[in-house]
């Protein structure tokens, strides 16, 4: 299967995602320039971390106008699996593919550290190989990862099990101490109603090799490969 990693001007974890998907996981991966209009027959799309278009105006706000986003939108509408990591998550929010918004971290500062993140839902293409409640250690590195949405939206996300990842403490509890940025309900990642679009602030692609401090994030990409093999999601016809 093939991952398309979208490269916006200002993406900086694009090659990290490419490396993880290809060299580590062993899938095919291609870097797709934001001015392109086709995903080139990819089976899954990754919107990588970085600061697309400088994050001027708001994080992700300009990226949604990049030419490739029309293709990403229609791919997602047809049920194609899309993963937004960090800035990619912010782009998905701005593009309306996921609900809610990001505000400055509680405490204002950029936060870069390894954090425990609990898998809350295993019925997405990016968590199918996880066990429910599995805790993954992955780095976060962001200044605006404080997830916010109206109470009704949060309620719906929780009710429909669209919260896919939650920040937890060392004991695995979604406590205030385990919340690195002030996100409502410790939300670290969510999916859309169709469950094919997933966004998260932690970086699974930077946690795919033990020598880098954690290999826990690899399961996110492995899940997608397995889902593709099982024919559950993706498929070339989608692109």
């Amino acid at each position: 299967m093939t991952f398309a990693v979208i490269v916006f001007p200002g993406s900086n974890s694009d090659y990290d995602a490419f490396h993880a998907a290809s060299a580590v996981v062993g899938a095919q991966a291609s870097l797709v320039w934001h001015k392109d209009t086709s995903l080139g027959g990819a089976d899954a799309v990754i919107l990588p971390g970085g600061f697309a278009h400088g994050d001027y105006l708001r994080t992700g706000a300009i990226a949604k106008f990049s030419p490739i986003m029309a293709a990403v939108n229609s791919f997602a509408e047809r049920g194609g699996p899309v993963l937004g990591i960090c800035n990619g998550f912010q782009v998905l929010l701005e593009a309306g593919l996921l609900p809610g918004a990001m505000v400055r971290n509680r405490g204002i500062k950029f936060v870069s550290k390894m954090v425990p993140v609990r898998v809350e839902a295993t019925d997405t293409p990016f968590t199918g190989a996880c066990t429910a409640g599995q805790v993954l250690r992955m780095p976060i590195a962001h200044g605006e990862g404080n997830y916010f949405a109206e109470p009704a939206v949060i309620e719906a996300l929780e009710r429909d099990r669209q919260v896919v990842f939650r920040y937890v403490d060392e004991a695995g509890q979604a406590s205030a101490a385990g919340n690195p940025n002030g996100s409502i309900n410790n939300i670290a990642g969510i999916c859309n109603a169709g469950r094919n679009v997933v966004g998260l602030m932690p970086h699974p692609e930077r946690a795919c090799e033990a020598s880098l401090g954690s290999a826990d994030g690899r399961v996110v990409l492995d899940s997608m490969v397995q889902a593709f093999a099982a024919g559950v999601a993706g498929g070339r016809s989608l692109a």
Partner: protein
Amino acid sequence: MSVIDRKVLEQHGVTEGEYARIQELLGREPNMLELGLFSVMWSEHCSYKSSRVHLKTLPTTGPRVVQGPGENAGAVDIGDGLAAVFKIESHNHPSFIEPYQGAATGVGGIIRDIFTMGARPIALLNALRFGSLETPLARRIFSGVVAGIGGYGNSIGIPTIGGEIVFDPMYAGNPLVNVLCLGLARHDDIIKGQASGVGNPVYYVGARTGRDGIHGATMASAEFDESSAEKRPAVQVGDPFMEKLLMEACLEVMKTDALVGIQDMGAAGLTCATSEMSSRGNCGMDVEVSLVPQRETGMTPYEIMLSESQERMLLVAKAGREREVEAVFEKWDLHAVRIGHVTASDRVRLFHHGALVADVPTKALTDEGPVYRRPMARPAWQTSVQQLDLGPLAPPASSQTAFEALLASPIIASKRWAFNQFDHSVGTNTIAQPGTAAGVVRIKGATQGLAVSVDGNGRHCYLDPYRGAMLAVAEASRNVACAGGEPIGGTNNLNFGNPERPEIMWQFGEAVRGIGDACRALDVPITGGNVSLYNETEGRAIYPTPVLGVVGLLADAAQTVTRVFQAAGAAVVVFGENRGELGGSEYLARLLDLVQGEPPALDLAAERALQTLVVSLVRGGLVQSAHDCSDGGLAVTLAECTFGSGGIGVEVALDGVKTVPAPFVEAATLFGESASRVVVSVPDGHVAQVLTAAAAAGVPAQVIGRTGGGDIRIDVDGATTVRMPVAAAEELWATAIGRRMQSAAGAA
């Protein structure tokens, strides 16, 4: 009719003697624009006029040196046709005036130096100095600098993998922000900042030129006084997004083979780039200044040429290949604007709407600048500060209390408050993270890894600049050795006061002599660096602070260790001799408020033997951890080995040193800072082999105890002097700086 009078010269920082020399070189009086060109190119910052005679004495060659000083950055061979490209640079003065932007643009500047060489930047480190954290000013500057470094480095996506931060009242009015960038290039891809080929087009690319930063280089060449805040317009504003685009576009253009040379516009902006590129290529350059993209209207040629607006590059392309170059920049939504061409003359000629406005011999700007052999004098107070008589003194606290005070000392305490604001995981190469001494990165597609450390100790250098500088080289080198890296190259950032004062110049000369001697002994060539002088406020200079960055080569990135104990039940071995040296120690400063004595002695041959031994043990997989012994002595070193281990304690028994009066035996044994020591943990099965290897290398080695239990326990001469649960000690150490920053924020 000349408008250049004494006042104008003073504003330009040009002496009357220098002005006479300018007239001689030109054969006439310069016009105002030409004076501006000379003033920035002959500023201390660009010309190294006070430091050059000393810098020439540094060792800069070696079998691995691919590029020594003189280019945008140095480069050393790391095998497989690859080179590590690196340099350290300061942005001290701007960071005092505007901490966030000063630090941010410092990061931006050094990154440009690296990718200008054709190397992809893969890591950043920083060495920072601030005033006492107990003062609001220092906290504000610290906070702003950390945010600025993160704001730029995190955005552009280059991980910050290490560094060191020191707080001392001596830096209250002159914080230091030294940033090292490491890049990776194939030897064949290294590009020089030179112009050549008559008729080749000269392109300007990147951000438009504004009025910011005019005379930044001149500002960096003067002391501060109470009016320094008025210099804020001389600080540039950074745009990491523009730099990211520039970096990607430049690296892409370099692959086309359509490029002749490239240089960033940093200090002295377009003036420096045009003159240095022509000078290196022994050619001339004609530039139409009005074609330079401008951010503001009505800019004069003087302003355009002296602006230090950030994120701008000058490049020379091959004639006939213009479209290829332009197309790459267009892809990244950047415009490469042709502003001139290379000429067969030896002059930089500037035109404004076709009229010749400046005509200067290239070498006059770059090579004919003044060189000063400034008078040096050993300060009258030097001998007295080196006297340390412990006799009349008594330890002010128990060893346990002193241990706790040192762990919470901002110099020793964890710097995670800062490091947690730096993205260290981007790039997926970072193996050893900030806070574990050397930063270590792997190289994708190769077996090798690189370890980098930056170190300096201003207190040591104040007490003895020669020995202090040697100790800095030794420590940086020892840190990379502890990660399994063979030290293969160095870069230095020399931060000093006003060189026009003989005692400052003496400190400078002594420090450079020390660096030279240590680098020769340890076989670490200096491939480049930066000099920052005039770090004074109202006549008070900083500690002389040479900062050394050393790059070490790991034969295999997987064969590395950190300072952290890996398992209970390992033997704890200390290499080197404990001579109980308290001179210049953190113990004396923290507990007795005394900066006194001679810094620790250093035997360079012993140091080299130690480092070679440690590298071979790490590479051989014989040790589970390795940690250099420095600030806070053996007690703090041992404690640091337990931090991050998940609570693996340590129990050791030490022999008291015999070198100090009885009341200080415990303190000197625990907290003395004798150099050339490393603590390693060794699984039982390897102990004999490790001790044999140490004996063969002539390195003193002693098994002092074992890892395990939940406590840090240190006995001296049979009595327990320090005993504390790891968790409690780690909490103290980990939160000391955050607590100070938080309580201050709460109070504000």
